[in-house]
Amino acid sequence: MNTFIITFSITAPGCKILPTKEGYILAKVTAYDLAKKQKEISVAEFFERNKHILGFGNQTRALITSVKEGVDNGLDACEEANILPDIYVEIKNREDGECKLIIEDNGPGVVKKQIPHIFGRLLYGSRFHAIRQSRGQQGIGISAVVLYGQLTTGKHAKITSKVEEDRPAVVTELAIDTNKNRAEVIARDTVHWAKPTGTRVEVSIIADYKRGKRFVYDYLQSTSIVNPHAQITYKEPDGAKHIFERTSEALPRKPAEIKPHPYGIELGTLIKLAKHTKSRKLSTFLKTEFSSMGDRTTNTAIDKANLEKNLDPKIMTREQFLALHKAFKKVKIMAPSTDCLSPIGETLIKRSLKYETQEISPEFIITSSRPPSVYSGNPFQVEVGLVYGGNLPREGAVRVMRFANRVPLLYQQGGCVTTSAISSIDWRRYGLDQTSGKGIPTGPAIFLTHISSTLIPYTSESKEAIADIPEIENEVKLAFRECARKVQHHIHKKVRRVKTREKFDLITRILPEIAKKSAYMLDKPVPSLDAVITKIMDVVWIEDLIEYVKVSRKPVQTTLIEESSQDHEGGTITKSKIMIVNYKCTPQKFNLYAVIPEDAIVGTAYPKPSKIANNYIKWNIGTIHPANKIDVNFELAGLEKGDFDENDLYIENINPAYVIGADKWEGD
């Protein structure tokens, strides 16, 4: 066999063909080739025909796609091996348009035997791609870069890989035999490499560095924002070095693999699963190979499909599969569990954005996470962030940074569901300009959207835009609305703070002076002010302050919850100090809530809280008499300096109009 048949586009998960122009082309070309011409093509030909949808359409795209494939693989590999990623990207360009690309990671490396397959064979991968949240989804990635390099420069790729700390690294020089879709090992060598483990890919490609330059930078910066646990170093041809620092020492939670859900399965995949299953009965097949299929649902589905429970899945006909596939849609099946996702988290997004926008010194950064949700049996989760003010340009459209499974989406913004969701919100209500209340708003802001899913529904194979799925659009909208509400809350709070500061000035500085002067003029003792202050204020006054304390060893004594604060060797403790003064003329008693980030660990809190939930602390504040005050303090560990930079306080069992500095508690 010296030809290669392309079939993945119809059956492989992650290659769902959506009715977009580009998506159709791939399906059509494939069907055309297979059915009409009855002719098999070489990978080179396949690549040539489809290079635009594989991300190599022009020399600028080719550069970015190549960087992206390499970096994504490096990040994936590190995370899989529980290593904090350290990625190095270097580009060397020559006058004639040839670029040498070096991408290095500190991942587990690739065993010698696998190197030719992974880097020298298109579409190499396991037969069934695992269903889990991951960057790469179908194994077309890095080998396509190698192929592109070979086709455009005729040069071989060089892969260096080290899999064990005390063994040398293996250097492999590869070419691709395009007729066989097999790698040809040109040379092999072992070298000393200081890294404990890792992989280094060197490929020469024809690319437009001049134009692609900015995108490469943007891509790496964006990648760093959604991968706060990664350190990325980028060396440009002129020697300029950019380091995108790691802002979190914690690896993201490993996304769990899940079984396919009947609602989301493609017919082709269903057939393939049945062919390879160990189950001999249809009912066991459904129960073991799918998620959310219990006895009842399985039986109902089989009944609806007019099939037999004991049918051997391996001998089912196409019609029977079709009936089963149709029946899935008619049965009420529980949504798949969504705990397989690994979102970034509000605190980390905020921290990353803060770090990357330092030079802009934004007025505020606000993030918001939605709970996981499901579309067609696929779990997904939306997180958004908003950077506002500072040196951001007041004119022009808001910059939208889109991400899917921690990968930046750089192209086709207009065709992305996140764009249509943002566009459908009336941003004028939230202080941004927007012609006729529709479209991308203008103003000094950056929007960030991140969608995690076991299956990102891209509009096309080039994976640049997310399809118009109503469930996703709705979640993005809800997330931004929530974000916008927080913005309003923040602004409102700031305005109020100024006003209350004035009142405070009045009672603490001016009023005493008035009293003193009147007493002086009359030669009388200075009168007492307490009662008058109470009358002027007529509120319960809450003031707060946040401090950060660096600690060298054990960050915090976690006296209030059992769980110890992992094994942090030092860090920052966030100290929140709250002062409550009763300036009403009657005693006051109420509940106070302090909202805290979910990933924070509560340390000492005084007085003793009546409840510590994962996202708030609650106190029953005992009676405070007029003109008396009490202090409430708490400490948070597990956060960096600045992660928690504003107390979010709420009160309960007291008229909110009596209180300055906290809002009404609306429930969890």
Binding site: E502, K503, D505, L506, R509, I510, L511, E513, I514, A515, K517, S518, A519, Y520, M521, L522, K524, P527, S528, L529, A531, V532, K535, I536
Partner: protein, 366 residues
């Protein structure tokens, strides 16, 4: 001269401090109340024939930051005045503004602010600025005519000044204090007082000898007249019964000059009975004069038109004479200056215009 007895002033100032002090003691939020000092709150006082503040009041309360600042500044100013009285000094409003630099939180941010507060304090205590030993910086206006004034000089000697024989071309200069302890009118031999807006016109009348030929006392208003000028005119009119005529440019701002002389100014409505001369009459230049004398004109500006319109709702201009003239001016859309009369020659104003107008008004016979 016996030096003025200020004990009354001191007790009035102390009353302000007491009010505040007692508020504290009664656990009330300290406040001071004073009449609202705007156009909408001036009422005609039948007794004095002048316009004074009406019943609307404004509260300066420590409830708000601004109000508290006002109270604090008021206290500082009151204390400062007490101190000046004690050490027998006086200061200009501008000096007080600079002195407030040392008042810490109570310091003023502009002189406008301190001037207004000084007026507030007058209103609250029903004292006059002179009682507070505060004086304006502007020098007094000038007087020329057959009139002898006895003035108490700096070294406490009385000096008689005849306002033609003892003065130069510039005339007698009105001091900031024109109360009887400072000046008295000894002998007056004139038929009317003519109060003139511009210096140029005052000098024209002086050069042409109008004070002699027509037995007039010329008073220069210098634009919007200072309090002392108005008080001077008021006293002269009351004590000698000589009619007062106001001679200004023909524009809305000049009408306001007349109003402040005749009816009382809005800002000083609390002391209108001291400052205003209800018997004074407007001589010109009137909008009708523009037409009758065919005077050179300028077009009214937007501000002029707005000012005229605002005067149509100003309670002081509600008689048929003023309504008619203001409406006429709005109709012709023109304004003119006193000195436009020079169109007909330098002597025209003294030989023709004034005699004609004075005769028309029944002041002199034709």
């Amino acid at each position: 001269m016996v030096s003025k007895d200020y004990s009354n002033v001191i007790s009035k100032i102390d009353a302000v401090a007491e009010k505040i002090y007692e508020d504290f003691q009664n656990t009330e939020i300290p406040y001071l109340q004073l009449p609202t000092r705007t156009k909408s709150n001036i009422k005609f006082d039948e007794k004095f024939n002048v316009w004074k503040y009406g019943k609307n009041t404004t509260e300066r309360t420590a409830k708000s930051l601004d109000g508290a600042y006002m109270l604090l500044r008021t206290m500082y100013m009151a204390d400062f005045i007490k101190e000046m009285i004690k050490i027998k000094k006086s200061s200009t409003l501008r000096e007080m503004y600079y002195i407030s630099e040392g008042w810490d939180l109570a310091k003023f941010h502009s002189q406008q602010e301190s001037n207004l507060l000084a007026e507030d304090l007058e209103v609250i205590t029903s004292c006059m600025r002179e009682d507070f030993k505060l004086r304006p910086e502007e020098d007094g206006a000038r007087v020329m005519g057959n009139l002898t004034i006895e003035e108490m000089t700096r070294n406490n000697t009385k000096k008689k000044i005849h306002c033609q024989d003892d003065v130069g071309d510039a005339g007698y200069s009105i001091p900031y204090n024109v109360e009887p302890e400072k000046i008295t009118f000894k002998s007056v031999d004139a038929d009317f007082i003519i109060a003139i807006e511009t210096g140029g016109m005052f000098d024209r009348l002086a050069e042409n000898g109008f004070d002699t030929t027509h037995r007039a006392i010329l008073v220069h208003l210098k634009g919007q007249p200072a309090r002392s000028t108005r008080r001077f005119i008021k006293r002269l009119n009351e004590e000698t019964n000589i009619p007062v005529l106001v001679f200004t440019d023909c524009d809305p701002w000049s009408f306001r000059i007349f109003a402040s002389v005749a009816y009382g100014a809005i800002k000083t409505a609390h002391i209108s009975e001291y400052l205003a001369t209800p018997a004074s009459q407007y001589l010109g230049v009137t909008p009708s004069d523009i037409e009758n004398y065919d005077l050179p004109t300028d077009s009214l500006t937007k501000e002029d038109i707005n000012a005229l319109k605002s005067e149509l709702t100003d309670p002081r201009f509600q008689d048929s004479y003023w309504k008619g003239e203001i409406k006429l001016q709005l109709k012709i859309g023109k304004k003119s200056e006193q000195q436009a009369l020079a169109k007909y020659g330098l002597d025209y104003v003294t030989d023709t215009y004034l005699p004609e107008k004075l005769a028309e008004m029944g002041i002199i016979k034709k």
